[in-house]
Symmetry: C2
């Protein structure tokens, strides 16, 4: 690849990724209720999709320390959205899963957030959406590989 081209891509990517991150977070936050933060919404979504998971898995998945996960899950347990159970087969492990209340709240929040994302997505041609998301998913995968290679 031409060096000129690459540097331009890098610059454009860095600029736009920060913009989308900030603006996207602000919009999603507006779609949530006072009680639920942006990060809590995504964390609960992830746990729901996985059914149940551990602090270690969450920390690795999101690239944060385990103590950060403890702090976040504490708040979610306090709100009654998340359940902490000790794994009987390996008593070091804590199994995290949604409570019924948590399921209900996240479903409620989903309604607003989906409406928002749909409004955004609707402005793009279908093919562009599919292509974009596919590359985005590949990017998430590559980031994990690069992280693991350290």
């Amino acid at each position: 690849m031409a060096g000129r081209n690459i540097d331009e891509w890098i610059d454009r990517y860095l600029s736009v990724s920060f913009l989308v991150m900030k603006r996207g977070a602000a919009l999603v936050k507006d779609s949530l209720c006072e009680e639920m933060t942006h990060d809590q919404y995504y964390l609960l979504r992830y746990i729901r999709r996985r059914g149940a998971c551990t602090s270690t898995e969450l920390a690795a998945m999101f690239g944060v320390n385990k103590s950060a996960v403890t702090a976040m899950t504490n708040r979610l347990v306090d709100k009654g959205w998340l359940r902490r159970d000790r794994d009987e087969r390996d008593r070091r492990v804590v199994v995290l899963s949604l409570t019924e209340q948590g399921e209900a709240w996240i479903a409620e929040m989903d309604r607003n957030v989906y409406r928002l994302v749909e409004e955004v997505i609707a402005r793009f041609p279908e093919e562009e959406i599919e292509t974009f998301i596919r590359t985005y998913e590949r990017l998430a995968h590559v980031l994990q590989e690069v992280e693991e290679a350290k």
Copy 2:
């Protein structure tokens, strides 16, 4: 568009955007020095590109409160990377611009971050990169429109 398709896209987009945000932030942070945070790096980059700007502009651009900008810029001024000057034509306005030291630090950080992003980008075909970034930029633009329409 088929409802089924849209909901699948929304779900995939929400999941992957959080992953990329978190993992990307973690990797960029590793490329920075102890003294500079992820957010500070992007903020300084933005101000450098604009030459100079105001708190109001930054707050609108990144979708945060002006008080958040004050707090961030305070830390950057304390470190000697950012300069605060009153606008002589409108004395309410504070003009933010990089100091020479700030320019030097951000150039230094750029070297590491560019190396990282290049490593990631190199794993994609050129055409996919260009297509992806173009849609990403369109997305940033749409998010701003949606924000403004509120």
